[in-house]
């Protein structure tokens, strides 16, 4: 039914058309939400499968440790372990921003990721000690923008250092993540709620560290860290 002139020279209105437009617009919104959710589910699935493969890798290493009571040094430091950890971290961070930090799937992924990080850290630290490898380890505790306004800057500095020193392994933990293992790690390392906090070889650095300061401390703890070949200018 359309709008037409009535005999009185006024318009008859078609409320039906207004309602139909509303319903169709709602349907378009619904479809968009559905599509968006579909892609988000796919993302979660993808992250789960990456996580599974990392978990399998770590479990395999742990099993080797149990079997041989140590991993042969020649295997360590190769790509056997968790080169996928960092890309996964980026994906989880993206999901926190775009799917929602409160999303239960994202939170559970974050928890599983934190566990994998701890396991990877323990294993790698062990290997580095025994085999005299040149790895460096940084544990990074961050908070959200409100509780830690400097965390963005700290993250940039750490990604910069990680880019410069490929053998530097950065493990990031959400300070407020409600997970026993992370809480234990925090109390073990005596991390206070003064974020960002970066732990280098048990030394806890609270508050924002400039690129130069952090690099200096890092090299003091891990003097054998090598700079990435050719792409970055050598440091003084």
């Amino acid at each position: 039914m359309a709008i037409e002139h009535s005999d009185h020279g006024e318009y008859k209105l078609s409320w039906k058309k207004y309602a139909l437009s509303f319903v169709i617009t709602l349907a378009i919104f619904g479809t968009a939400i559905y599509i968006s959710n579909y892609f988000n589910d796919r993302r979660i699935e993808e992250m789960r499968s990456i996580q599974d493969s990392i978990a399998t890798n770590i479990m395999s290493s742990e099993t080797e440790v149990s079997l041989l009571s140590s991993i042969p040094c020649e295997e360590a430091g190769s790509s056997m372990l968790s080169s996928e950890l960092n890309p996964l971290a980026e994906k989880i961070e993206y999901s926190e921003k775009n799917i929602g930090a409160g999303n239960s799937d994202v939170i559970s992924l974050k928890k599983a990721y934190a566990l994998l990080e701890i396991k990877d850290y323990l294993l790698m630290r062990d290997i580095a000690k025994r085999c005299g490898n040149k790895f460096g380890f940084a544990l990074y505790f961050y908070g959200d923008a409100k509780s830690c306004p400097d965390c963005d800057k700290a993250s940039y500095v750490l990604s910069y250092l990680r880019g410069k020193y490929p053998d530097l392994r950065v493990y990031s933990f959400d300070y407020n993540l409600d997970l026993g293992a992370v809480k234990t790690l925090e109390s073990m390392l005596k991390i206070k709620n003064a974020l960002p906090a970066i732990v280098l070889d048990r030394e806890v650095l609270n508050g924002f560290q400039s690129k130069e300061a952090l690099e200096k401390t890092l090299l003091a703890h891990y003097p054998k860290l090598a700079i990435v070949a050719s792409t970055t200018a050598p440091t003084k």
Binding site: K17, Y18, T25
Partner: protein, 411 residues
């Protein structure tokens, strides 16, 4: 703040989509009373028509305008052309002497008084039952008048508007106007069907002369007399329809600065006229025009305003972020690796894309209907993307003008 931005964006997109869906339903719902061009060539007796050409400093284009009128496919004895020189200070007068001896053309020179005075002058001189006007920067297609006059065979039709096309669109500024005009033609076609045409454009709109007898002549109307006249007609429940296929070519502004000036005049006038005719808003009496079209145009202006604020906010956030990054680590080249994972598939971006796709499709549809090239052209993309960035500027200036009661010059 992020939440406010998100909610505003959702509301804006909901409103925009609702409007487009409403237009599409209207397009599908009701066929026009007369099929496109049906009456072309088959009209038994054509009425006599006067075309007024108001001109003010148009020495470069007025000859072409008059020549295009003389070339119209319309009986010679039924068409009379009234050129009103509104006190031009350039060579317009001299240019017009070339047409002085043509019996179909009457030329008048008057003191400058503004476009509406030139139009009114012409209307008073006109003796025909039908009066139209043609801005002196526009040219008509040969068949346009016949197509327009066919619409008047319905005695209820009081005014007819043409399909406007940007003449010779070269350069990005004109190309995006070309797409914009196509979209505008689409809108006018729909408005015509739902009886909501609220602008009778200066280039080649036609009226029954009794319209002026009944509701009066053109008014100053904030330099947008073509909108005021249409609003006044709507208020008096006089029907205005659009004539698809009655093409009139107009020279759009060629630079952003000129376009900006033109749009400030249009939008300022539009807002002022809306304020003058505010009693038509939200009135059932005025049908879709009162309940949907006019309110949505206001909401559209407000949302564009919100869009500017949000863009500024987002831009500031991006810059701040870059500053933080720079202060932390200096300049680091961004990594170029691509991962589908990071493609933005948020509800908001899917909805925005849907809307953009709809607008581009409509421009396409309209071009296709108008017999334009079927090849893909970037004009619609220029229109959608560049307009979103430049139109807020003239919207803001116009809103400011209205608040400060400033009047934009019409030239």
């Amino acid at each position: 703040m992020d939440k406010i931005v998100e909610i505003t964006s959702f509301v804006a997109i909901f409103v925009g989509l609702y409007f487009e869906v409403f237009l599409l339903i209207s397009l599908l719902e009701k066929k026009p009373a007369l099929a496109l061009n049906a009456a072309h060539n088959s009209s038994p007796k054509l009425p006599s028509v006067s075309v007024i050409v108001p001109c003010f400093n148009e020495e470069t284009t007025v000859s072409k305008t008059i020549t295009s009128l003389l070339a119209l496919d319309y009986p010679v004895d039924c068409l009379n052309i009234i050129v009103v020189n509104d006190g031009s200070t350039d060579g317009t007068r001299a240019t017009l002497t070339a047409f002085e001896n043509n019996p179909r053309i009457q030329i008048f020179h008057k003191e400058n008084g503004g476009k509406y005075t030139a139009l009114n002058f012409g209307i008073e001189k006109a003796t025909s039952e039908f009066v139209g006007c043609l801005d002196s920067d526009s040219f008509v297609d040969k068949a346009a008048l016949r197509i327009i006059m066919a619409k008047f065979r319905d005695p209820k039709v009081m005014a007819v508007t043409p399909s406007m096309i940007i003449a010779d669109p070269k350069g990005i500024v004109r190309k995006m106007q070309r797409a914009e005009y196509s979209y505008g033609n689409f809108l006018r076609k729909i408005y015509s069907r739902i009886e909501a045409v609220h602008i009778t454009p200066g280039p080649f709109s036609f009226f029954r002369k009794e319209v002026f007898r009944k509701i009066g002549l053109y008014k100053h109307a904030h330099n947008t007399e073509d909108m005021e006249m249409a609003m006044r007609m709507q208020k008096h429940r006089m029907q205005i329809v659009s004539a698809d296929g009655a093409f009139v070519y107009t020279v759009g502004p060629g630079t952003v600065k000129k376009l900006y000036k033109q749009r400030v005049r249009w939008v300022s006038g539009f807002i002022s006229n809306l304020i003058d005719y505010r009693d038509m808003l939200f009135k059932k009496k005025y049908g879709d025009l009162g309940l949907i079209i006019l309110p949505f145009s206001i909401i559209g202006i407000l949302l564009s305003f919100a869009f500017v604020l949000m863009s500024l906010y987002q831009m500031t956030a991006t810059i701040m972020n870059a500053v933080v990054k720079f202060s932390a680590v200096g300049f680091v080249a961004p990594s170029l690796r691509f991962d589908v994972f990071f493609t933005n598939t948020s509800t908001l971006s899917i909805l925005s894309l849907t809307m953009i796709a709809m607008i581009i499709a409509l421009v396409f549809y309209e071009d296709h209907k108008a017999g334009k090239s079927r090849k893909f052209s970037f004009d619609a993309l220029y229109f959608v993307f560049l307009y979103s960035f430049i139109s807020p500027f003239w919207l803001i200036t116009s809103i400011y003008n209205n608040l400060a009661s400033k009047t934009a010059p019409w030239r």
